[in-house]
Symmetry: C2
Subunit: 485 residues, 2 copies
C-alpha cells in the first residue's frame, strides 16, 4: 500500500517520465507542521534573537537550558491532566518521555529540583505541540519560544512591572509598528466572575469564551455564554458590562469603588496591585502602551495574579484560539506576539515539600514576528546577505591557486572573513561576478605582474576602484579598509 502510494506520487511529479524505482527510497519531506529554516530566514531570525537576548541581558538575566524531552509525568503531573497536544516518545528503555510543550513547566521543574528560590533567567528554545498547523501564519508544531522569568519573593509588582517594560522594549526595537500590551489580573477575573454569579466550576470555560472578545463582537460572545456555557442572560449581561471596560490607573480606582466588586476580597487585592503596577509603569514611561482590559483572560490555568498579552495594531487576522499557550502566538489570537503573567503556585506543585516560589514571566512568540518580518523582507528591495564575507582573494591568471590559498590563510589568521573560489584556474570575471552576487565588498587580486612587482591589487567592488598595495602590507591595509566598509 505504502509503496503504491509512493509510486502514484512519483508518477504525478514525474511529468510522465520513467523514474528509476530503485533511486527513490522514500518521500522527501519534513514532518507535518515543521519546516526547514533556510539561510535568509536564519539571518532574520538571528537579528530578532539578538534584539531579544540583548534586552534580556540588559535586564540582568542569566540563561539556562533544559532537555528537549522530559519525563512524561513531569509534564502531565504539573498540570494534573494530560495535555492532549503533547508528543510522546516510544518507551524503549523503561522511561515514558515527552517533548516539552513550553519552557515554563521545565523551568518550574528545574527550580524545584535544584531548590532554587530566586533567579532571573531567560531561556530560548524550541517547543512542540501536535496542533493544527497554519504554516503561512507562523503557526507550527515545532516553534521557538523566548522566555524571561523572575522567580523569588519580592515586594509586590516591581518584577511584574519590569516584565511589561521588557515586552515594551523588545517590540519597540523590533520595529513592528504600533502595539498595545493588555493587562488584567486573575484575581480580578475571579472576583468579577463571583460577583456576577458564575458558578465556580464554570470559571475557566467562561474565561475562554470572554477571551474571544478581541476577535468576536459582544453579541456573539454573549450568545456563546448563554447557549453553549449555560449562563443566564442576566449573568451574561453583568459580565458584559465589566468586560467592556478598558483603562489604566483610573479604571482600577473606579472599580475599587464599584458596589459589587469592592465587596470581593480577591478582586480588591487584584485592583490594588493593578494600581501599584500602573505607578511603576509610569516610572518606566510605558503607560501609553499598556491598557488595563477586563476582557483579557488568557488560556493557562496556572496564573495566579497579573496577566498580560501584547498585540500588534497592524496585523489583525482572526483565528481560533488554543489553550495552553503563554505567548498566545500559536493560539493565533489577533496579532498577539507576547504574553505572560504571574504564577505563584507552579513551583510548589513540583516540590516534594510543597515549597512555593513566586514567579512572574513572559514569553515572546517569535515565529509570528518572523512571519511578518519575512514577508516584509520579500517585498523590500534590500537584498539580504546570508554570509559576512569581507574579501575574495582572486587571481587574474592561471596557476596561482597556491598563492591565493596563502594570502587567504594570512587573512584568516588576521580574523578577516576571506574567501577563495574552489577552482584551480577560475576566470577573473567569474570571481568578480561572485562578489557582486554575494555582496562581498572587497577583492584582493593576484596576477603575475603584481607578484613580480611585489604587490596585490585591491578592488572596491561597489566603486570598481583599484589600487596596488605592497604584498607585505596588504593584510594590514585590508584590515583598515573593512572597518570603513
Amino acid at each position: 500500500m505504502e509503496g503504491e502510494e509512493r509510486r502514484r506520487k512519483k508518477e504525478k511529479g514525474g511529468k510522465g517520465k520513467q523514474i528509476d524505482e530503485a533511486k527513490q527510497k522514500f518521500v522527501l519531506k519534513t514532518a507535518k507542521g515543521t519546516r526547514d529554516i533556510n539561510s535568509k530566514q536564519m539571518m532574520i531570525r538571528e537579528k530578532v534573537l539578538s534584539v531579544i537576548v540583548s534586552c534580556f541581558e540588559r535586564h540582568n538575566a542569566v540563561t539556562i537550558d533544559t532537555p528537549v524531552f522530559e519525563l512524561k509525568e513531569t509534564l502531565t503531573g504539573i498540570n494534573g491532566e494530560e495535555f492532549k497536544l503533547i508528543y510522546n516518545l516510544k518507551d524503549e528503555n523503561g522511561e515514558q518521555l515527552s517533548l516539552r510543550y513550553d519552557l515554563t513547566v521545565p523551568f518550574a521543574r528545574y527550580l524545584a529540583m535544584n531548590n532554587i528560590t530566586n533567579i532571573k533567567r531567560y531561556h530560548i528554545g524550541k517547543v512542540y505541540r501536535r496542533d493544527n498547523p497554519v504554516m503561512t501564519r507562523g503557526r507550527y508544531r515545532e516553534f521557538c519560544q523566548c522566555d524571561f522569568d523572575i522567580a523569588g519573593q519580592y515586594d509586590p509588582m516591581i518584577p511584574d512591572a519590569e516584565c511589561l517594560r521588557i515586552v515594551y522594549e523588545i517590540l519597540r526595537e523590533l520595529d513592528l509598528g504600533d502595539f498595545r500590551i493588555k493587562v488584567n489580573d486573575r484575581r480580578i477575573l475571579d472576583g468579577m466572575s463571583a460577583v456576577c454569579g458564575v458558578p465556580d466550576e464554570k470559571f475557566c470555560t467562561i474565561c475562554s469564551t470572554v477571551d474571544k472578545l478581541d476577535k468576536m463582537p459582544w453579541e456573539d460572545v454573549k450568545s456563546e455564554l448563554i447557549n453553549k456555557k449555560g449562563l443566564s442572560e442576566d449573568v451574561a449581561d453583568q459580565i458584559g458590562e465589566y468586560v467592556s471596560m478598558q483603562g489604566g490607573l483610573d479604571l482600577a480606582e473606579k472599580l475599587l469603588q464599584d458596589p459589587k466588586l469592592s465587596q470581593n476580597k480577591q478582586a480588591c487585592a487584584g485592583l490594588n496591585d493593578m494600581k501599584l503596577l500602573f505607578v511603576y509603569l509610569q516610572c518606566f514611561k510605558i503607560t501609553d502602551k499598556v491598557v488595563f482590559d477586563l476582557s483579557l483572560a488568557r488560556g493557562l490555568d496556572y496564573y495566579t495574579g497579573v496577566i498580560y498579552e501584547a498585540v500588534l495594531c497592524q496585523t489583525l487576522q482572526p483565528e481560533v484560539p488554543v489553550a495552553g499557550d503563554r505567548a498566545g502566538v500559536n493560539a493565533g489570537s489577533v496579532g498577539s506576539v507576547a504574553g505572560g503573567g504571574r504564577y505563584d503556585g507552579l513551583v510548589g506543585q513540583c516540590d516534594s515539600k510543597g515549597r512555593t516560589v513566586p514567579c512572574v514571566g513572559l514569553s515572546i512568540g517569535i515565529e509570528r514576528i518572523l512571519c511578518i518580518l519575512e514577508q516584509k523582507a520579500k517585498t523590500s528591495a534590500e537584498k539580504i546577505r546570508t554570509t559576512k564575507t569581507q574579501v575574495l582573494v582572486a587571481s587574474a591568471q592561471k596557476n596561482l591557486l597556491e598563492q591565493r590559498l596563502k594570502l587567504t590563510n594570512e587573512l584568516w589568521d588576521a580574523g578577516i572573513k576571506a574567501e577563495v573560489l574552489y577552482k584551480k584556474n577560475p576566470k577573473l570575471l567569474t570571481q568578480l561576478q561572485h562578489c557582486e552576487e554575494t555582496g562581498i565588498p572587497l577583492v584582493a587580486i593576484l596576477g603575475e605582474q603584481e607578484i613580480q612587482n611585489g604587490v596585490v591589487k585591491l578592488r572596491n567592488v561597489a566603486t570598481r576602484e583599484e589600487v596596488d598595495v605592497s604584498r607585505d602590507q596588504v593584510v594590514e591595509e585590508i584590515k583598515r579598509r573593512i572597518i570603513n566598509l
Copy 2:
C-alpha cells in the same frame, strides 16, 4: 506499585519526617542521559559556540536549521537499515517520526529536497542517541553538534583542505592544549584492505577493529582480527604493517611506490589526493598538526574519500567506541573532539533521480570540550560572572523606589545593563553586597541629600571611590565609565 516506590524513596530522603503525600506528585529528574545546563555552564558554552560560529563565518558559511525530528524513513532510508540508537516518537497522527541522531542526514535530505547543488553551511543543533551515557565524560543522550559542510562539485581537495584548516583554527582558539588531526582516505583503506586479501564483506568490521589502534596495542588488535573477525595471521600481519604507518606528503609518495598498493586503482587515487591535500595544507601552514595515519578508519559507512579526526594530546581516557558518530565524541574515542570527511554519495541516496552532490564536512563535538573547560573552570580561581549587569541603581534612604525605577529606566533607554533590587526599602549595605557577589562594577546611589543637590553618587565597587555627578549628566557619565570598565 509505583506509588509505593515513591513513598519508599521519600521515607529514605525524608529523614524520618512525615511528608504530606499529596504534595509530591512525581519524581523530579531529567530523562536518562540528559541534563540541565545551569547559568555557569551556559556562559562557558556560549563562549565556545561564539569561537566556533566566528570561525564558520570567517570561512563564509551560511547557516540553516532543520526540525529536531524527521520522518523515520528519512533516517533509516538513507542508511539502509535502522540505526538502533534512534529515539522514535509514538505514531499519533499517521506519521512515523524519529529524533535526528546527527545533522548530516538532515543536511543531505535538505539538499535533495530543495535541489541545492552547492552550499557552504554550518548548523549547530542538538542530536539524540539512546546510547550508554557517561555523564562525567560529556557523553549524553542529548548533545550538541556543530557541523560545517561544503557541498558542490569543485576542484579536488581544496574544500577538504579548508575543512582541516577550520578544525585547526577552532582547536587553536579554544586553547585546549596541543592536538593532532589524523587524516586518511576511505579509498586508501579500501585498497589496503584489498591488497592484503581481506574479503570485501569483511571490510567494515575489519576497519572498526583497526580503528581501535589508538587505544589498544597492536597485539590485541591483531588477536581480535584473527580470533573474532576470522582473518588469517598472514593477512593480519600485512594489515599490521600498513596501519603502523604515519607521516605526511612523504608517506603518500612512498606508498605510491609500494609494490602492492601501487597496483590498486582506488588506493592510488586516494594517495594522489592525499599528496594534493598536503600541498594545500602547506599553504595553510598546518602540516605540523596534521598526520596521515593509515590506522584511522572511523565508524561511518557513508564516507567516500578523505576522513579525519582531531585528538587532544593531553586528555587520553580509554573508552568503548560507538559506530555512527561523525565527531567521534560520543564514541568516547581517545580525546577525539572533532571529525569528518568526504561523503559524495549521501545526497544521491536521497534524491529521487539519484543526482549526486559531492560533500565534505566536519563536526565539532562540543560536549567533550565543555566537559574539559568546565573542569578547568572549577579548579580555576577566576569567578565566572553569569550576568553582564553594569550598574546597580541603589538608594541610601527609604521611600526612594520610584526615583530608583526612573533612573534605571533612563539607563535601559541608553542601552545600559542596569539593575534595581525588587525591594521598596533595601538597606544600602545589602545593595552593595549584591554588587560584590554578582560582580556589578558600578553603583549609582540616590539619597535625599543627593536629590536635594541634584546629583547622583557614583561608586566604583572595586576601588570604593565615590563621586557626585549631576543628575542630568549621570546617564552620559555612566556610559563613559562602562566603556573603560
